[in-house]
Amino acid sequence: MNGTALIFMLISEGIIAFVTIYFFMKVLRSKKGFNQEDESKND
């Protein structure tokens, strides 16, 4: 691969991978309750 293409790819994919993992980990680690009602209430 030529250098410019490689830089563009690494920067773009690097940003996206980092931010996605960051937000996803934040969701997984969140201690906040979420829809804690009894599931049997679902119709």
Binding site: M1, N2, T4, A5, L6, F8, M9, S12, E13, I15, I16, A17, V19, T20, F23, F24, K26, V27, L28, S30, K32, F34, N35, E37, E39, K41, N42, D43
Partner: protein
Amino acid sequence: MASKEKWGTRVGLVLAMAGNAVGLGNFLRFPVQAVQNGGGAFMIPYFVSFLLLGIPLLWVEWSIGKYGGIFGKHSTPFMFHQMNKKWLWKYVGVFGIFTNLAIASYYSYIESWTIAYVYHSIVGTFSSMNQHEVAGFFSNYLNVSSATTGIPYESIVFFLICLSINIWILSKGLSGGIEKASKIGIPLLIIFGIFLAIKALTLKAGHEGAINDGLAGLNFLWTPHFDSLANPKVWLAAAGQIFFTLSVGMGSIQCYASYLREKDDVALNGMAAGWTNEFIEVIIGSSIIIPIAIGYFGVDKVVDLVQLGGLGLGFKTMPYLFSQWGPVLAAIAGAAFFGLLFFAGITSTLAMGQPVMAFLQDEFSWTRKKSALAFGFAILILALPTIFFFEYGVFDEYDYWAGTVTLVVFAMLEVILFSWVFGMGKGWKILTTGAEIKIPSIYKFVMKYITPVILILVFLGALVRPEKDDWSTLFSTKYALHEESILGKILNKSIKYNKEYIADTYYAEWDGTITNVSNKSIIVTDLQGNQHPIELSDKDKPIVQVNQQIKAGDALYSGFIVNHILWITLSRLLLVSVFILIAWLVRKAYIKQKHALL
């Protein structure tokens, strides 16, 4: 009676939202758009569009949904009515049901192709075919009367299987159906994608018939062409790609978010789902079809192939390329690729079903099962014209009006409702209540001014798109409408010669040569070498001969001719009728609610 359904887990919600956004376009549309619009440089307008259009719209839609859910409203007409009582807004909200119904009707048909192609990949249908035969297989498959498996009306059989799976999952409910399907579908899709990407990027020139390394494809896709950034077409393409990949402007995000509680987070959830879509699109989507195609065909041919669009590249070419890897690996790769597309598709059609079902459940007290069946029945009725009249352009009409134009119109109006009519202050409060990330306050400004302006520009751009995308002609006498512009479509600019609904003579649409004439068909080969077969009925009489040179507009045959324009016009009327029918149901539900309050 408002539905009491809720999401089971937060990860389930995020995956369902990501599944809603991840669609076939992530793998078939994005890489083609990147190649056609500046390669690596395309990522600059793409990121700008994501920051200024995608993220604000995600937050607006999540917030509208959460606000509606507080009042037990899960469909956009009544969410919008809750935000502003003027009569107009609930009818703007009709788009949020209409687009889901109309898009699902042709999208589930594409989804059914993926099931058929998984089947054909596993049984080895493509193993002995050359590239031309694989492309021909796709055309045969779309011809309803043909039977590539020996099953009569095969494409309809696969469509019914696909529709039944959708109805079954939808009837299981939000956490028991959609959420479970997303928790299975999205991880599997990522696993299949990683497998194919590894295989694509490790292709070696000289091995398994490849003429280039797989990395040559990445090089081709990512090499930046900075001069493209001066072309408004590239910026419009990037805005369009961000818009369509995130599934905004549909009403499905609002519907999913309406099953949250007032204090639940939408800011972080929205980001996790939106960025997951980007991860799948940019990282996995760019590493499959283009590297494999470049590996086998080289740059010049791929430049030609991308003109076919992503669907053409995916269905007409990939099975042939997989067959170069030997029978076992070809079956695995084919099943993985079309399986990946199936999971991408079904997680999106499920998201299209829920708003329609929620409307029926909330406003007419229908049960979940009855609503799911009604959705399936509506899809079946609306899909039949796209299946039977596919070759007459009905499918493309649905995609253009329901899958493109109405999304932009809906998003434009909803962001104005949220930021200006409902008020940015109230909107911001909903967005930030329970938020687990700090949202930069600049986004107040972006949501109020930048995003609406971009959407208005995108809409106006689509309305008056110039011929050959030459924007320099816009205010000059050379200006002419592009046939794919909204005005060009309304004026049927793409149809040049056969403009009557029913005629007694059929005229050539191309310059070229007659290469075959029989009682059943005439084949015109145009100046670029493309063949255009024209089927004849028993009563049609050819008035040209083999090897005759023709010009566009020359008469080809006489008889009783029903031109494509009739089917195109009827399909538009059908879509308008569906919109009016939903608006009527909304009015009926509104009157019912008013009477209940008295």
